[in-house]
Amino acid sequence: MTARYLLTRVGQALLVLACVAVTTFALGRVLPGDLATAVLGQSATPEQIAEFHHKTGADRPAVEQFWSWFTGVLHGDFGTSALTGQRVSDALADRAAPSLLLVLLAEAFALAVAVPLAVWAAYRQGRAADKAANGASFLLLATPQFAVAVLLIYVFAVRLGTLPATGYVPLDEDPAQTFRTLLLPAVTLALGLAAVYYRVLRAGVLDTLRQDYVLAARAQGLTPRQVLVSHTLRPSLLPLVTLVGLNFGFLIGGAVIVEQLFALPGLGTYALGAVQTRDFAVLQGTVLLIAGVYVLVNLAVDLLYGVLDPRIRHAR
């Protein structure tokens, strides 16, 4: 893997982020509605609205607005929420933690379930265990997040009362409680993810099991465990790694429904709120952060490819 390759990828990533920034900005401009009405209320006079626009810079030409925002971002300044007066970067710092924790936890759960199950099911292809796991994966794939969430809340929070439905506590206050409050939302996300991961990895393992080197490994008298773990798993992981990366980026701001149902102060609800109140500084900052995480994770996935597969490492 050459430095040149890395440089190209970083360049591409920055280009993508720039495009995302422009798109968000443009999308913000075509949204009907005006933050001024939210901030100033129904009784705002035209003069007050004009003054508000002037103060927030909304009366300047779009290109100029974009440029000043963009240069601000380059200097680490994401602007200020016109609605709450909070610095967007501060808000994002607060909001990123629950989102990141949630996604990390969900991915961890999903992988912990999906990986062993997929390997085992592929090894026992066509047997009862495989069929049962396949059926379960289909069901989970088809069950919408909100249905899972509602069910989990009903069972674990309301009926059994063993886990809290809401009440996120920051990590630095009480890590155990953070974990407990994130458990249900993470499981909600994880169930769907696990089904996807299971299917992809199972297909990958089935594919790998057909490879000559697996036959050769069996011809060496290796135990099924050795064959599966040492020879089969790693070459089968590439599509899964791609997917984990994609989903990581996807969920970091995409778990809107789950965040809302579990009252988690994450990036998704923050962006959703910004869309609904037309708080553009917030919207732009959040989308850019989410896209940044996505791009970064996928860059990492790309690098991980090289680690997992020397063919890729040496082809670059």
Binding site: T2, Y5, H314, A315, R316
Partner: protein
């Protein structure tokens, strides 16, 4: 409409005399590997006369397939001259390229992968005729029938898909397709390598027959020296993108002058040669070719000069060229 309306090749020349049908001069084919460019073919000269078969042999990775693809204009990064029938086609486009493509047919190594799995044999053979244009469906159907007959395909096979046929049958389809527009030159890239011996013999025989019937020139690429010997008039030996030796077939097999040619012959199973002629080691990477003579790292006769000066082909006997500083003197 009859098949008489179909394009017909120019009358074949008179063999080795006169203007060559194909002349490749200083051919270079470049690829990129992980951003790094390298030359798969590094300055190659070849001459092929009308009705003649030139065998091109060498180990895998020596660039012989790249030569065929370059001649077929399938390689994007090519320099040098490819003179076909007096015209340099290396950089032509448009009508001239179209006309050239009709006069050159190509057959590939993998018989099944060479055919679109979603199309019937009939469609596949008809494709070049449709592309050439100017034929109605009856003329095309008639020509497809003729071609199937020519390559020994039973008409009942015409409505099958490639995966429903054997490798030998698929290769016949490929040949029929390559012959559809009555080319002057047939490029055969390892066409029998993937076939079993008994089927290989059938296809070799077929190629010998149509070469006679159609008065075709052929560039026959193979790593199998015995097959090349069977089919070729002249043989060129390649090593790591360069030409080692080029001679009439009997001359080459009887009196190989390049140490690499000799080693190749010695390695053929069942060929009685002392072990000392066998090569050690492997082909160097084309990304970092050795300086001077590219064969020197494995050559039993290599000396200091070989590392410094790349050898140029020189004629050691009539029509026998060797690119070696120290050719084996095998004059009887």
């Amino acid at each position: 409409m009859t098949t008489a309306d179909l394009p017909v090749s120019a009358p074949p020349g008179t063999g080795a005399v006169g203007r060559p049908l194909l002349e490749v001069r200083g051919l270079r084919v470049r690829y990129r590997s992980g951003g790094r460019p390298f030359e798969a073919v590094a300055g190659l000269d070849l001459t092929l006369h009308q009705g003649e078969t030139l065998g091109l042999v060498g180990e895998s990775g020596c660039g012989k397939s790249s030569v065929a693809r370059a001649v077929a204009r399938l390689e994007p990064d090519v320099s040098g001259a490819i003179v076909f029938d007096g015209q340099d086609v290396a950089r032509t486009g448009g009508r001239a390229l179209k006309a050239y493509r009709r006069r050159v047919g190509m057959v590939f190594q993998d018989p099944i992968a060479s055919l679109n799995p979603r199309r019937t044999v009939r469609d596949i053979i008809a494709t070049p005729l449709e592309l050439a244009g100017g034929h109605d469906s009856t003329a095309i159907a008639a020509r497809v029938g003729e071609l199937a007959d020519l390559v020994g395909l039973h008409p009942s096979l015409l409505d099958r898909h490639p995966h429903e046929m054997s490798g030998g049958q698929c290769q016949r389809v490929s040949i029929a397709r390559a012959l559809a527009c009555v080319p002057d030159l047939l490029l055969c890239d390892e066409v029998v390598s993937a076939l079993d011996v008994s089927i290989q013999a059938q296809v070799v025989n077929l190629l010998m027959d149509i070469r006679e019937q159609q008065r075709l020139a052929m560039l026959f690429i193979s790593h199998d020296l015995a097959v090349v010997r069977q089919l070729s008039d002249r043989v060129a030996v390649m090593y790591l993108g360069t030409l080692c030796e080029d001679a009439p077939v009997d001359e080459l097999f009887a009196r190989p002058a390049h140490p690499y040619t000799r080693a190749l012959l010695a390695s053929v199973p069942g060929n009685p040669t002392p072990d000392t002629a066998l090569l050690t080691g492997d082909l160097p990477s084309p990304l970092t070719p050795p300086s001077g003579c590219r064969f020197r790292t494995r050559c039993p006769l290599a000396r200091d000069t070989c590392a410094e000066i790349p050898p140029t082909p020189k004629q050691i006997r009539p029509d026998h060229h060797v690119a070696c500083h120290f050719p084996i003197d095998a004059t009887p």
